[in-house]
Symmetry: C2
C-alpha cells in the first residue's frame, strides 16, 4: 500500500520529503494545544535524564508541524509552489487499543505557495487521491468536498456574521447525521435563524443532485457577500478541473455538510469515505489553509493538502477482510535435493536473479517434502527441483505449487519458459 | 539507495519486517549495557509525565533487539529458517555532530534458524551485499570476512585457552593497522606467546594471498583443536559457495584480522570497506551468533546477519561528492501558456500519467519563461508547450531543457515519440 501511494504521488510530480522524528518540544506545543498537547511524547536521553534536565525534544504527532518548520527553514532554497509528499510515522500518547495507535503511518501531500496559490491545486489533489485509492483496490469510495467560504459567506449574507455564532451553526449542521434534519432545524432557529433561512440552508446542505445542480442552486441564492462569491468561484473551478483531469463523476461529491473539525482550513475541505463502510469515518481528509507557517516566518505561505491515515485504514480493511491479496515477493524456491549439487543450485539462483526474478535458495539440508511444504506455507508459487537424474539429462523440474502440476524441461530453456509461466500466474 | 537495498534483499527471497519504534525500557536495557545504555532515548507521554510516572518506553537503538523480541514473540507462527530484512530508523542519544546521528537508517538482513542453521547462509548474505553495493554504484568495495573460531581455535591449540587472555590477544591484533607488526609482535610475546608462535600467527593474519592460499596455509598448521577445525570447515564452505554464487573474486577477502568489536559474534564475521576510502570505516558489518533471543525464549535460535549503516554511508559519500546522480522523479512539465486551454493541459497530464510517466502540470498563471526556469531549476528534463497556435494545428511542442532543443509534433504522435525521447535520455 505504501508503494502504491508513493507511486501515485510521484506520478503527479510531487517530491518526497522526510523530516527527523524529533521536533523541539516548544515548536510542537505552540502549534497544538488542547487534546493534542496531552498526547505528545517527550523524549530524553539517558545522559540528559541523569543530569536532571527537562525534556526539550518530542516526537512529531503529525506531518503538518514538521512541514511548516521545514518550509520556513528552507524558504530560500525551495522553489514555490513547493509540491511535496511525506510518508512517515507519527506518534501519539494514546492508550493502545483497537483503532487507536501510538505509532501510525500518515501519508501527506501538500502544495505550498508563496503569497498566493492557484485554486487549480484544489482539484489536482483529490484527482491524485482518486487515482491512488483506485489502485489500492479498496472498493468504491467517494471524496466529499466543499468550501468553508460557502456556508460562512451564506451565513454572513443572511446577517449572521459573528464568528462565534457561525461556529455554533456549523456545529449544529455537523449533527445532521446523528439527530436528523428536524432537530437541526430547531437548533438553527434557536440560534436566531429565520424559519425560511434555516430551510434554505438545510435544503442546500442535504442536496443530493449532481455537482452542477448544486452549483446552480448556490448561484440561484444570489447571495452577494464577497466571501460567498469567492467560495463559489473556487468550487466551480474545481468542478471543471476535476472533469478535465478525467476523474469519474461518482468519485467526488460536492457536500456542504463537510465542515466538522476542520476549523483549521479556510477554503476547500475534503473527506473521503469507503462507500460500503461509512463507519470507517473519513480515510483521507484535508483542505486549504491561508498560512502554513505564520509562527516561523513572516512570509505568507498558503497551501492545500490531503492526508491518508494509512495505519487506521489498513487496520479497518484488515478487520473486515477487505485487504487486497498481494502476491508473495518470492517467486521461485530452488530446492536442495542433493548436497553434491549445491553449487548448481546456487549458480542457478544467481542466474534467475539476473533475469529479474526474486529467488530463494533452500540452504538447509532437508527432505524435499519439507522444502515444498515450506514453499507452500510461505506462499512461494514455484519450486525448481534438480536431482542427479535431471542434472545428468541437463534438465530441471518446475513444480507449480498451486496447480499441483510439474514440468520437466531442458535447463537451457528455463529462463525463456519461466517468462510465460510467471506471466501466466500474475 | 533505500529502494536499491530493498530490491536487493527481496531478490534473494527475504521478507520485510517492520517493528514499532518503542520497546519496553527494560527490554532495551537488559540487552545493552555500557556505552549504549547512556544513549537510549526514553519516551513519556504528557499524561504519564503529569502523573509523575517514570518512563517505561524507549526508542530502539538498533534492529537486533527488536528482531530478537519479534522472533521470540512470533516463534510459533514463523517458518524457520526465518529470512527477514528490516529497514528502519534507529535512535541514539548522541550530541548532534558530523558523522554522529541521533536518528539514522539501518538496513539489516538476518537469517534465524531453530536449533541449527546451515553455514551456507554465511555465504549467501555477503553475496546479497555485493549485489546491492554494485547496484548502489559507490565505487570499488571489498567485504572482508573471517571466522572467530579460527583464531580462538588456533590460540587454544597453542595452549592459550583462557578466554580473558584470548581477548587480550585479539585486542592487540586489532592494533595492527595503528602500531605496526613489530609492536604487535612484542605485545603478543609479552602476553606469553612463544616467538615462533607469534610469528606464525602474524604471518597468517597479514597473509595477502588468495582465499584458497590462506585456507591452504591454515590447513598446513595442522592444528587439531575442534573449534579450529569447525571454523576451517565453515570458512571453506563459504569460499566454495561464494564462487558458486558468482561473486567476483576481488569482492571478498578472507582476512583473519577482522575480529575487533565483534565479541557478540561466535563464527563468521564481516566488515565492508570502500576501497578508495578506508577512512569511512566498515560500511556494512555483521556475523553469526549462536543464540539470538536467549533472554526471551528457551528455544535456541542461531542466526547470521549483516547491517548497512545507511545514513552514515550516505553522509560520507555526500561529503566526498561520491553520490551517484539520480534522475529527477518528474519527467515532464506541462506548461500553462493560455489559461483558456487549461482543460487541455490537465487532460494531457492524465493521458501521459496513464502512459506511465511522472508528469507535473504547472497550475499557477505565470510567464512561460518563469515556468521553464522552474522546470530547469527543479531538474525536470522535458517541458510540453501548447499555445493557441499549436492547439489549432493539433500539435504540441516538446522542449528538451538540457539539450536546449525543441520539437513540434502532432499530439496524436506524442506518446509514441516520448518513448524514444525519454528512453534516449536515460
Amino acid at each position: 500500500m505504501l508503494d502504491t501511494i508513493r507511486r501515485g504521488f510521484e506520478r503527479f510530480g510531487f517530491v518526497p520529503v522526510e523530516t527527523p522524528v524529533f521536533e523541539l518540544k516548544d515548536v510542537l506545543l505552540t502549534k497544538s494545544g488542547g487534546e493534542t498537547e496531552k498526547q505528545v511524547y517527550f523524549v530524553q536521553s539517558t545522559g540528559s535524564l541523569q543530569q536532571g534536565h527537562e525534556a526539550d525534544l518530542a516526537l512529531r504527532f503529525d506531518l503538518t508541524v514538521p512541514l511548516a518548520r521545514y518550509v520556513a527553514e528552507h524558504e530560500r532554497e525551495l522553489v514555490f509552489p513547493f509540491r511535496r509528499y511525506q510518508i512517515q510515522r507519527v506518534y501519539r500518547g494514546e492508550r493502545a487499543q483497537r483503532g487507536r495507535f501510538r505509532e501510525f503511518y500518515q501519508c501527506d501531500i501538500d502544495v505550498i505557495g508563496k503569497d498566493k496559490l492557484d485554486p487549480a491545486y484544489d482539484a489536482e489533489l483529490p484527482a491524485i487521491i482518486v487515482r491512488i485509492f483506485e489502485e489500492l483496490n479498496v472498493g468504491e469510495f467517494t471524496i466529499h468536498f466543499s468550501n468553508r467560504k460557502i456556508l460562512l459567506g451564506l451565513l454572513a449574507s443572511f446577517g449572521i456574521d459573528d464568528a462565534e455564532k457561525q461556529k455554533l451553526v456549523l456545529r449544529d449542521i455537523d449533527k445532521l447525521d446523528k439527530i436528523g434534519r428536524p432537530k437541526v432545524r430547531e437548533a438553527l432557529v434557536d440560534l436566531g435563524l429565520k424559519d425560511i433561512i434555516a430551510d434554505r440552508l438545510l435544503s442546500l446542505i442535504t442536496h443530493t443532485g449532481s455537482k452542477e445542480e448544486l452549483l446552480a442552486a448556490l448561484r440561484a441564492e444570489k447571495a452577494e457577500h464577497p466571501v460567498f462569491l469567492q467560495g463559489l468561484m473556487e468550487l466551480s473551478q474545481i468542478v471543471v478541473s476535476l472533469k478535465a483531469l478525467g476523474v469519474a463523476e461518482n468519485r467526488t461529491r460536492l457536500n456542504l455538510a463537510i465542515a466538522r473539525g476542520l476549523d483549521y482550513y479556510t477554503g476547500t475541505v475534503y473527506e473521503t469515505f469507503i462507500d460500503a463502510h461509512p463507519e470507517f469515518g473519513s480515510v483521507c481528509s484535508g483542505g486549504r489553509y491561508d498560512d502554513l507557517a505564520g509562527l516561523y516566518t513572516k512570509s505568507k505561505l498558503p497551501g492545500v493538502g490531503l492526508s491518508i491515515g494509512l495505519t487506521r485504514l489498513y487496520d479497518q480493511l484488515n478487520m473486515h477482510n477487505l485487504l487486497p491479496q498481494v502476491p508473495h515477493n518470492v517467486q521461485i524456491l530452488i530446492t536442495q535435493l542433493d548436497p553434491q549439487l549445491s553449487s548448481v543450485y546456487l549458480s542457478l539462483g544467481t542466474e534467475l536473479r539476473h533475469a529479474g526474478y526474486n529467488v530463494e535458495n533452500y540452504l538447509e539440508p532437508a527432505k524435499l517434502d519439507k522444502q515444498l511444504k515450506y514453499a507452500d506455507r510461505a506462499g512461494i508459487p514455484l519450486a525448481i527441483i534438480i536431482g542427479e537424474n535431471e542434472q545428468s539429462k541437463g534438465n530441471v523440474l518446475i513444480k507449480d505449487l498451486m496447480a499441483k502440476s510439474q514440468l520437466e524441461l531442458p535447463r537451457t530453456e528455463l529462463i525463456n519458459r519461466l517468462k510465460n509461466i510467471i506471466h501466466h500466474k500474475d
